[in-house]
């Protein structure tokens, strides 16, 4: 079918293209990516489903306002490289966002086609375009603007920092990104598993930013190695964007939480994702708790909980449980991830809360005392509040517990930059229109501002900040010491 001659009837007859995926029985034995990506034929078919609305509501549904209608039109016409160029005007990380954005709650949620049929698979098409550039071997050369002479430091190389850095570079500012870990990418590297987001893809998308002239410094902990004030006063940066993420795991505060075998999802995932502990001891020196034949319970119902439980399954857990206090409907995780976890044999213990962890004489975890819940009246969040069922306590035998109930904000920046205002929850307070903090020329965005959220929201904040920084930097440039 031709994009120019297709009739409305023909268009509506095309089914939403299903992305091929690894068989669940096979994929629980490996860390390779689960979803295999649309074929070019599928992508073109899917793109033909888009009716090219005059007023595309999908764009309004996207925190970074990707020109969705335009890039999809180019795919429909078979101009895949054109689609790459179009998408990159707004999003430098299409392969990443195509994989990890909650499209069903954003662009696809408002898609007009979705009213009668399944919405256009915008996320899958974005992923296709991002992957197409990498696989085609043709790199689009970035257009590097004339330098403005201004320098901006970006703290944190996660989604917020990277999108901010990219926009700043496109405005012509010199950008240096500082990362505390030895690898760039933040949560994309340490938090999201290989089977959902291959690390090679993150590395390659970062390459695109390097070609923009952005510089990266790993192993720098802002707040310890150097402070925000020193970046501006001693290193000559005109502005600083803080995108350090949430990064301080919450625990439940129940008895036994410090037993051996109880750990935060961040630790478990960092060992496996960033440090490749699944290859221990062969090609990684970092160990991870040996899950083989063990019972592992993950507490929480978000995407991180799904990532952790599916990782435990792949590491050989006999039983891998999700323990969640509400019902599946209230789970914050993406539907697709819940579906994938169920397919992989993850057992969901819903309407269940842990009361206490139980250990043996050596302080090793042996079980968790749980209580069943039922849904009562809605609470402030509008979700029905879980209420304990009396007498329903029981002990679930487990060898490992992974706590995945969210993250507070990391204290290093606020401790060393006392003039940045923080909220009661210790997140950084910003003007939402500019992302400027209470400190002159210091901006912030992403999870450090919102608390744990999504990749695309962090990217949106990064872009907003970049635009505001660009407007602000009308003064004269400072001297800049090369890092």
């Amino acid at each position: 079918m031709d994009a120019r001659t297709i009739t409305a009837k023909e268009r509506m007859a095309i089914p939403r293209q299903e992305m091929p995926a690894q068989d669940p029985q096979v994929r629980i034995g490996n860390f390779n990516e689960v979803n295999l990506g649309l074929t070019p034929e599928q992508a073109q078919q899917e793109a033909l489903r888009c009716i090219q609305c005059k007023d595309p509501v999908c764009i309004a549904g996207c925190p970074v306002s990707i020109k969705i209608d335009q890039f999809i039109k180019l795919i429909a016409e078979g101009d895949f490289m054109g689609a790459v160029r179009k998408i990159k005007e707004d999003n430098v990380l299409p392969s990443i966002c195509g994989r990890v954005c909650p499209q069903e709650d954003q662009c696809e949620k408002v898609c007009v086609i979705g009213k009668k049929h399944k919405p256009v698979a915008i996320g899958n098409l974005e992923r296709f375009v991002g992957d197409y550039e990498r696989m085609s071997g043709q790199k689009i050369d970035p257009v590097i603007p004339a330098p403005t002479g201004k320098k901006v430091a970006v703290v944190g190389s996660g989604p917020a920092g990277l999108s901010c850095a990219n926009d700043l570079a496109q405005y012509g500012h010199k950008v240096v990104v500082f990362e505390a870990l030895h690898e760039l990418g933040g949560v994309l590297m340490y938090g999201i598993p290989e089977f959902r987001l291959p690390k090679e893809i993150v590395r390659e998308e970062l390459e695109g930013l390097r070609r923009m002239g952005i510089e990266f410094r790993t192993d720098v902990v802002v707040g310890r190695t150097i402070t925000v004030d020193e970046l501006m006063e001693e290193e000559g940066f005109d502005a600083v964007f803080i995108g350090v993420g949430a990064g301080l795991p919450w625990f439940m505060g129940i008895p036994g939480e410090n037993l051996v075998g109880v750990l935060a999802a961040n630790e478990f995932l960092t060992r496996v994702n960033l440090m490749k502990a699944y290859d221990f001891p062969k090609s990684s020196d970092t160990p991870v708790f040996d899950c083989k034949g063990k019972n592992v319970a993950v507490f929480g119902g978000g995407n991180t909980a799904m990532d952790a439980v599916r990782t435990a399954k792949r590491l050989g857990a006999e039983h891998a449980y999700i323990v969640y206090r509400r019902s599946e409907k209230e789970m914050p995780a993406r539907e697709e991830e819940i579906h994938n976890a169920l397919q992989e044999g993850v057992e969901f213990l819903l309407l269940t809360i842990p009361l206490e962890f139980i250990g043996d004489e050596k302080a090793w975890l042996t079980g968790v005392k749980c209580q069943k819940m039922e849904l009562g009246e809605p609470d402030d969040s509008g979700r029905r509040r879980p209420v304990a069922v009396p007498g329903s306590e029981y002990v679930l035998p487990i060898d490992m517990a992974i706590i995945s109930i969210g993250n507070g904000s990391n204290p290093l920046i606020r401790q060393t930059t006392p003039d940045i205002e923080v909220s009661k929850k210790e997140t950084i307070v910003v003007d939402v229109n500019t992302m400027q903090t209470s400190k002159e020329n210091v901006y912030a965005g992403g999870d450090i501002v919102t608390g744990g959220a999504t990749v695309i929201l962090a990217m949106g904040a990064g872009r907003t900040a970049a635009a505001a920084i660009n407007e602000k930097l009308a003064g004269t440039a400072k001297n800049f010491n090369e890092w």
Binding site: L181, V220, V260, K276, A363
Partner: protein, 281 residues
């Protein structure tokens, strides 16, 4: 890559390594540590900064070969490089003029006791150091400790050098002799730190220990280093590594540090995991 400027054995299996890391050298304070990663497949291991020189832009770490990573580190020579050095991490030691301060280092823990002793001296304290080791050939930093001490003692478990006995016995002796001690810092193996806490507790002497929990990122993100102090959960990497010895749940620390024992055993014996502050298993 971070270049090694010098690397010399201080004792069998204990190596002093000076690494080019100008920003850390400039910034670092007593009590802080770095996380190093030897190569692309390496673990992130926390090691205390024993010394630094802002002029040459170098920091000194002292590592005891206990597992694969520290043994590999100990094979490095001047001119070699290691993949990553990040820091300085942790909250610096709280230094003030306490009056009489005792800094106790057990084994490679002396690498931490030394910079803090120096800082205590600088702050005007009357500094007593107790430098303990299993035997004479494992005593490290003897001259350095002496140089910052008003009184310096060596103890060896086997009596091959200095006082015959444990650091706690020497400390007890000092207390019993009627010496007024205002502050004690103890760094070494967990049983030693626990024993020191019990010696000073009845006398109400303010005592601080530097803990060595398992750690990955060192910035508060992973939560692996949580320790129980005064019944509360604290993060070793950002709240510590130094804590009030009389409040620390040492049993919990020792238990939690054993989590990867099984994996280590499963792996090659020569591949023992090592992930703590002092370089000890």
């Amino acid at each position: 890559m971070y270049r090694i400027v010098s690397a010399i054995f201080l004792a069998e299996n204990i190596k002093k390594i000076e690494i080019e890391a100008p920003r850390i050298a400039k910034k670092r304070k007593a009590g802080q540590f770095v996380i190093v990663r030897i190569n692309q497949n390496g673990e992130r291991i926390p090691l205390t900064i024993a010394d630094s020189n802002p002029e040459t832009g170098t920091i000194t770490i002292i590592a005891q070969g206990a597992g694969k990573s520290t043994r590999e580190l100990n094979r490095k020579e001047a001119g070699d490089s290691i993949a990553d050095v990040v820091g300085p991490l942790g909250t610096p030691s709280h230094i003030e003029n306490f009056g009489t301060a005792v800094s106790i280092g057990g084994g490679v823990g002396t690498a931490i006791a030394y910079p803090t002793a120096a800082a205590l001296k600088e702050a005007g304290n009357y500094v007593i150091t107790i430098n303990g080791a299993r035997s004479k050939d494992l005593v490290i930093l003897e001259e350095e400790m002496k140089a910052v001490s008003d009184e310096a003692y060596i103890t060896t478990d086997d009596g091959s050098y200095g006082f015959h006995g444990f650091v706690t016995q020497k400390l007890q002796e000092l207390i019993d002799s009627g010496k007024k001690i205002n502050f004690v810092l103890a760094i070494g193996p967990i049983p030693m730190m626990r024993a020191v806490a019990e010696v000073t507790r009845p006398h109400g002497i303010k005592t601080v220990v530097s803990l060595n929990p398992i750690m990955i990122d060192g910035t508060g993100m992973c939560g692996g280093c949580r320790v129980t102090v005064g019944g509360e959960v604290k993060f070793g990497c950002i709240d510590g590594p130094e804590f009030d010895a009389h409040q620390v749940d040492f049993k919990n620390l020792a238990d939690r540090n054993r989590i990867y024992q099984h994996e280590e055993k499963e792996a090659d014996d020569t591949f023992a995991h090592q992930c703590n502050l002092t370089g000890q298993a």
